[in-house]
């Protein structure tokens, strides 16, 4: 985005939120990859999700006091519903995995 000159010259607070979202996404992505504990991975996924929503809502903001575009907000709400159900499923799977294998990490790769 930084290379797009016309836009950088007109950075609004909304773009600041969007950039914040990108930063948050990178941080959460790092945790998602590095941490082995499944709960941390699930939390990192949630933060990544929230950061994507921040980007969506941030880019939707309008500059001069006009009403913001409602469509991205509808997308964010749908995204939150998806994220909540995905988190629920992930947590249940994690607990089942702990009950059957006694571990809270993913099994090692099977040679591939």
């Amino acid at each position: 985005m930084a290379a797009d000159d016309t836009r950088v010259s007109a950075v609004t607070p909304w773009h600041f939120y969007a950039l914040l979202g990108v930063g948050l996404f990178s941080l959460a992505l790092y945790t998602f990859i590095v941490q082995a504990h499944l709960l941390r991975k699930i939390l990192a996924f949630n933060i990544m999700g929230s950061s994507v929503f921040l980007v969506l809502a941030g880019l939707a903001g309008s500059p001069a006091g006009e009403a913001p575009d409602p469509v991205p907000h509808a997308m964010v709400i749908t995204g939150i519903v998806v994220a909540v159900s995905a988190t629920a499923l992930a947590l249940v799977l994690m607990l089942r995995l702990r009950d059957t294998s006694g571990r809270l990490t993913l099994p090692e790769d099977m040679g591939g």
Partner: protein, 484 residues
């Protein structure tokens, strides 16, 4: 009267029938398999009806509730979508019939299998019909969540681990895709594919969106080196689930990638197709080599899927000139769907019969389950690309366009991949004829399970004989299939 109504609402019925079936089977656990089979038959009729209207009236568009592009949900069925819907219907019907027999002895799993499978089918059909990027995101998530539930169905530690890994990969891939959509929406103020196609330009936000969406989908399609999650998930699930994951779910994200590539991305990034082709070639070689090394049959078949996904991506650089490489890739997707479903079913039969799936201890299974071994061998013909199979036609087209463009390295990969596939298929067939030192208590297998595997394998061979009908469907409203 009924027929006309069915033809008119075939597209919406393709989503509503499996959805209604899923909800009903969830509420009525006693009648699950009946509801499941009824829905599968209904979906097959709808898919055939849709094909008929497509061939007579051309591309179909349906505005759900009468709302148009920027706000409403639009369903669109062109030749590519319809071909995918047909593939899903045929293979899905086969898998449903197989699952009915398979889960007879595991009634406690059947009550979870059917709602999840019908929900997954809903997601697949909706994905093939969706015409805007955000609905595609929703269908992707529905697909991922229901596929995760099915992967975990076996309940063993291996299955749960595979499901967990699959869920995390799938969610991460979807988030990358959604981030890409956020950038596209910011640029175009729209998510309708046709409208977005007019507004994307070779600028950095478009490139960022392209990179995010393509990497998300490549991750979900398990292209090398992102295939790590596929073998544990596909190999630890019950046989009908392995079949539907390997045959159908992988194809959905490939379809989406191909659709976006054709409509949006191909003018934006001329170099990316070589990278995808390179990864595809690596997948063919690496997947085939690992398939050769496997001790367990289901893992061998899962690694064979990794290799076959590679062929689909080899088409990207080949299709930069002419369209016949796309026909090859799509034909491979079709014949692989039939052949791989059949292989996993045959493997399921062998596993039920002997209680294990170690290749070295197959123990004269060719004499005990001749139909299953025949199904495996016939499906293997399509996987390795021997004539007269669908896999042969597909690889022939790919090879032809590789030679026409002088891309010798890809042509060599295509040939070597076929030889490696022959090696791993014959390795299994060979051990099916030999007696193993360890003998096992054998368990009888219902004949229906063997026949269904055989019929699907024959289907993948028939694709090699009847080449024109799929191409006719494919040509409606798409730039594809014109080359042949």
């Amino acid at each position: 009267m009924v027929r006309e109504a069915m033809l008119q609402y075939a597209d919406i019925a393709l989503i509503l029938v499996p959805l209604a079936g899923a909800l009903l089977s969830f509420v009525l656990p006693r009648a699950v398999s009946l509801i499941g089979i009824a829905s599968a038959v209904g979906i097959t009729f709808c898919a055939l009806g849709l094909t008929e209207t497509l061939l007579t009236n051309g591309v179909r568009q349906h505005l759900v509730g009468g709302w148009g592009a920027p706000l409403g949900i639009e369903l669109r069925a062109d030749g590519l979508s319809t071909l995918m819907l047909l593939m899903t219907a045929v293979v899905g019907l086969g898998i449903s019939l197989y699952a009915r027999v398979w889960f007879r002895s595991e009634a406690n799993k059947a009550i979870w299998f059917w709602p999840l499978w019908l929900l997954l089918w809903t997601a697949l059909n909706a994905l093939f019909l969706a015409a805007d990027l955000f609905n595609l995101y929703v269908t992707l998530e529905l697909l991922g969540l229901s596929a995760t539930g099915l992967t975990a169905l076996a309940g063993s530690a291996a299955a749960l681990g595979g499901a967990m890994r699959y869920l995390l990969v799938s969610l991460f891939g979807s988030l990358l895709y959604l981030l890409g959509i956020a950038l596209i929406y910011h640029q175009c103020g729209n998510v309708d594919i046709a409208l977005v196609a007019e507004c994307l330009s070779p600028t950095s936000p478009s490139w960022a969106a392209l990179a995010l969406i393509v990497s998300g989908l490549v991750l979900k399609t398990a292209l090398f080196p992102f295939h790590f999650w596929l073998p544990p998930a596909h190999a630890s699930a019950p046989a009908p689930v392995s079949a539907l994951l390997s045959a159908l779910v992988i194809k959905a994200t490939f379809y989406l990638l191909l659709r976006l590539w054709l409509d949006l991305f191909s003018p934006l990034a001329p170099q990316l197709d070589s990278l995808l082709g390179l990864l595809g070639a690596a997948a063919v070689l690496w997947g085939s080599l690992l398939a050769l090394r496997q001790v367990r049959l289901k893992l061998l078949i899962a690694y064979s899927t990794v290799a076959q996904i590679g062929y689909l991506f080899i088409a990207f650089p080949l299709a930069s000139v002419g369209m016949s490489a796309w026909n090859g890739a799509l034909y491979l997707a079709l014949s692989h769907a039939l052949a791989k479903a059949s292989m996993f079913m045959a493997a399921g039969n062998l596993m039920r019969h002997a209680g294990h799936d170690r290749i070295r201890e197959l123990d004269l299974v060719a004499q005990r389950l001749p139909l299953s071994v025949t199904a495996f061998a016939l499906a293997g013909m399509s996987i390795m690309g021997l004539p007269p199979s669908g896999g042969f036609v597909a690889k022939w087209w790919l090879l032809e366009s590789a030679l026409q463009q002088g891309m010798w390295s890809l042509a060599i990969v295509l040939v070597v991949g076929g030889i490696l596939a022959a090696a791993y298929v014959f390795r299994v067939v060979g051990f099916a004829f030999t007696e193993s030192p360890v003998t096992h208590e054998a368990c009888p297998i219902p004949r229906a399970m063997e026949w269904i595997a055989l019929v699907l394998a024959l289907g993948s061979l028939l694709l090699g004989v009847f080449v024109q009908p799929p191409l006719e469907v494919l040509a409606v409203g798409t730039p594809l299939a014109g080359g042949n």
